[in-house]
Symmetry: C2
Subunit: 417 residues, 2 copies
């Protein structure tokens, strides 16, 4: 049984010892016995503070290969002239290489889980298993792209890959209401329910989507999902930029979660989510980065701060304080994907960040939580622990230089450079 003792780590304002065993927090702040110490690896954490890591609720990891490939242009031009032609050239190997860069970036910025909607999922899964973090790997449905055979293969995959591994879950991901029709959406929801998986989709991302839906169905995208009977606590919907008050009530009452991706929404000109109102509605909110081609990074800290700032666009500085937005990016994100993690507390999975208290932005130390949320950036992260193991130690991730080099070469080759 692997045991880890984080000795003298700053937690809740004082130095404490934390015991990790069986991949969970086993003792937090209690005195450790001789037996606890037996065969444990002891890590001196003097000068470090412990906080929960990030759970990225919406991502397209392999698209990191497209970072900076095309920016600052209207959505349709961006998609049709740049993104889709590039994606058409992606191979299994490219998805693997791109995901490896993405996971490296996520680890270095404090993320230990991501929900991934993409194709060639086996290759994403392989990288996640290898690099030690968690993921909800999407089985993605898009009727305009998939043949009927492909759709059946998807369902077979879902049945076969139940409980994939302790760090990897499978999630059923119909792309959106405009790429998946009623019948298939309902089938997705049904199998997700039967197999205990999350149902994840894009929802109300752009005004065009909302207008088209109103024109075609006479209701909002959220109302459409409600009409389909798939709006329940199993649903985790990304974006939700253009919700009406009624949409918010429907989602809150149903227990459906929403993943905010404000950086991507702004960069693509999709708009600003009404965060203060969503909070008032009582919806469960998490945070995601979306893909690196639209963000252009996978830094949950940046999106977390942006969520907290945009929530205050209602003119009230007391909206969504630091501790609450931190919960949103950590515990609530984990909760949306049914992972008992994101809290430094006994019985929770041992995922954590160690912050370097010497970092200039964490000083003066009037309030660690405020400094971490509002002032710091990734440079304050000293180490990252996932499932009881270090995936980054003293800012070093195994093999990082090679990962970066390989991804750069692969992407430039695909771009024809």
């Amino acid at each position: 049984m692997a045991k880890l003792i984080l000795q003298s780590v700053l937690f809740q304002g004082k130095k404490q010892d934390i015991l990790i065993s069986e991949k969970k927090f086993s003792k937090v702040g209690q005195p450790l016995t001789e037996r606890d110490r037996e065969k444990a690896e002891v890590v001196n954490c003097d000068g470090l503070a412990i906080v929960p890591p990030f759970y990225n609720g919406h991502c397209h990891a392999a698209m990191t290969l497209l970072r900076g490939y095309a920016d600052d242009m209207p959505l349709q031009e961006w998609l049709t002239k740049y993104i889709w032609p590039f994606e058409a050239k992606l191979t299994n190997k490219a998805v693997e290489i791109g995901t490896r860069l993405a996971v490296l970036e996520m680890i270095k910025s404090g993320t230990v889980f991501f929900a991934d909607m993409y194709w060639r999922r086996e290759y994403t899964m392989k990288v996640v298993k290898e690099m030690g973090i968690r993921a909800a790997i999407g089985v993605t449905f898009a009727e305009n792209l998939d043949t009927p055979e492909h759709i059946e293969e998807n369902f077979d995959f879902v049945r076969k890959h139940l409980h994939e591994s302790e760090r990897v879950q499978i999630a059923v991901m119909p792309h959106s209401i405009y790429l998946v029709g009623e019948k298939l959406f309902k089938r997705c929801a049904k199998i997700a329910h039967e197999e205990g998986m999350v149902l994840h989709t894009h929802l109300s991302e752009t005004l065009k989507e909302v207008r088209d839906c109103n024109k075609q169905h006479g209701c909002s995208p959220v109302e459409l999902l409600d009409r389909y009977g798939v709006l329940d606590e199993n649903l985790v919907a990304a974006h939700c930029v253009h919700l009406t008050d009624c949409d918010m009530s429907l989602m809150a009452d149903a227990g459906a979660a929403s993943i905010l991706n404000p950086c991507s929404n702004l960069k693509l000109g999709s708009g600003i989510p009404k965060i203060a109102k969503m909070l008032d509605s009582g919806m469960l909110l998490g945070i995601g980065t979306d893909g690196a081609s639209s963000n252009n990074n996978l830094d949950m800290h940046e999106d977390m701060k942006l969520v907290s700032l945009l929530a205050k666009a209602n003119g009230r500085a007391d909206t969504l304080p630091a501790c609450e937005v931190l919960n949103m990016a950590t515990a609530h994100g984990a909760m949306a994907y049914n992972i008992p993690a994101g809290v430094i507390s006994e019985g929770f999975l041992a995922d954590a960040l160690l912050l370097d208290l010497k970092n200039e932005r964490l000083n003066p130390l009037h309030n660690l939580e405020s400094n971490w949320v509002y002032a710091a950036d990734s440079s304050a992260i000293h180490s990252v622990i996932c499932n009881g193991k270090f995936v980054m130690r003293n800012r070093h991730v195994d093999g990082e230089e090679d990962i970066v080099k390989e991804a750069n070469a692969c992407a430039l080759k695909l771009a024809g450079k």
Copy 2:
């Protein structure tokens, strides 16, 4: 004559040699002669790229001591119960210590200049001279706080400290239209003109300011300054969150510059500046961080990305592309303060950042500028050069651990902890 050669540094898509001499860029990309190389320090920059550093157009550096001291509450409560009582306890030494932490943070996040509006300016100036960066040190006027004698002392100081040093300029800073009346504002503008100094003020930061001004003067704050006759190219106004179309035209026609501080504006609930419209008006726009008690950091990169994102809140992804917002945070900021810098080009002052091309967020390298603006954070900054000298080298700033420790101890003592 100190000479520095940056050898094989990535610039404009290819590896070039750059010669710095007499504190300026002397040769960029031209072949270097034997004479150029004579007595020059040669720095191997293989694997590094050069970009201009940041010019922070609005800051209150010493307030870094208050970072995280009070957050997430209504403005009046925040000011009267927390900020002002804490500030009342600041000594000369505390201002010096707080500014040192601020300058350290700015250097580590790529900033080589800041415009500072605060009190006890001699101590701010001392730190700037010592740490090697640039500043416009404010002589701050606030009639509600200053005695008539103090105001005269201020003017004496302005006259005496002309052309303070090659890195430090003095700027005349009437706090705002609500703390400085017509007569004093005009006197400030007059002496600034006579002495060739910038006139810097807070302007249209909150709706309350705009409403009170309309009530009291029957016009907007910008119109009031126009009426005073001080709206000209010498004026650099911070915030400008609540400008009318007419205000923007007035400022653009007058050649007055505006410094955007979106992070602070959002965090304090002041609102979102209308960036797209301001761009359309043709105004000169720079970027600032405001103080760390309201931001809560001094990271220009973060504010730069936020400006670029908020500009796209108009629904157009092609508003303010990466290269333009980078200009705003660099060359345009320098221009607002009459500093011939912010451009990597012969004849300009030798200020620069060296970026680490191994950093995961700068890869793949489809487009360095896009990666730097949209994807990176401070962890990508390898070294910082100001006035031809390294102020950070390989992420290390001389004395940084002591600066952080001293600031933390000082701030906690002032807070009574």
